[in-house]
Symmetry: C2
Subunit: 151 residues, 2 copies
DNA sequence: CATAATTAAGTTGATATCAACATGACCGAG
DNA sequence: CTCGGTCATGTTGATATCAACTTAATTATG
């Protein structure tokens, strides 16, 4: 006993700091999410709500379990998020006629309207972010992030 | 009143789907975080806890407000996360001798030990993720994510 | 058709995230 | 020295995140 644990060498920490994609992804996602949260605040949406509402704009109303993999989001997280959006009247849900286990989700008129309001903000903010990434290869970034989302 | 809101055109949704970095970053970060959470479970750490502990391994014990910008994390989020790590005895804190407002954070011996245990897992997992990104330009990805974290 | 396996959702409990607000410590101007 | 501004941190309330468990409906098997 009383065996002294050696301190984790500083070089190991620097190896992680230099390589870790997970850390960088969390960090970048937090910062970007915060930025869009602030920008979208005037219309009363968070970046996540904006993405969820946008993903509901489909010809065929999706079910929760269709959306979860698309958003790479846990199904139960989505359930909780939708509860808020339904309460606010932005999303409507109805039991699937074909399969009573399922639930079909669609944008309400107010849901459409709020997205309309949000679009100019999204465009302005997105342009600003792209400008800040000045010169970096956007296509590589987008492709890599999509790939990560499919892990 | 009763002015019918036009549905958000499908093309607008497709524009967002095609371009939105925020959506892709959240999605990728969720998937990647989940993956590391699962891999690190045997040692009892989440990806975020791993990153926080790792960022504490510095010659000079940092304060909360030094770490928050480094992690691009809200200060109060960090406070909450540290509470858990302190409770588990992985992190120790002490009031800054020079400035009693501040608090210096450092890894306990158990904190060092758990990082030791986590390292082989992190290496294996990170190698696997890099392999899955097969051929994509890692340096561009890392640089872009760092840049996003500084927004 | 009856029962087992599967599938879609919901619930619970723990942590994560952040804005808004509150407290106490430091510091500079007068 | 003291008062006003700033700084470091903490607290609260709302939502986000996910694993584990539960319920109800469907499907597959014998």
């Amino acid at each position: 006993m009383s065996e002294t644990t050696p301190a984790l060498p500083r070089e190991v920490t620097l190896e992680v700091r230099d390589r870790c994609l997970c850390f960088r992804a969390q960090r970048g996602a937090r910062a970007l999410g915060r930025r869009f949260d602030i920008a979208l605040k005037p219309v009363g949406l968070t970046n996540g709500q904006f993405s969820i509402l946008m993903s509901l704009n489909r010809p065929e109303p999706p079910r929760i379990s269709d959306l979860a993999p698309f958003l790479a989001m846990d199904r139960t997280t989505l359930t909780a998020a939708l509860k808020v959006l339904e309460r606010r009247g932005l999303v409507e849900s109805a039991a699937d006629a074909e399969d009573k286990r399922g639930k079909r989700l669609r944008l309400s008129p107010r849901g459409h309207a709020i997205l309309h309001e949000a679009m100019p903000i999204w465009r302005r903010e997105h342009d600003a972010v792209e400008a800040a990434l000045d010169g970096m290869d956007l296509e590589t970034l987008k492709a890599a992030l999509m790939k990560l989302g499919e892990l």
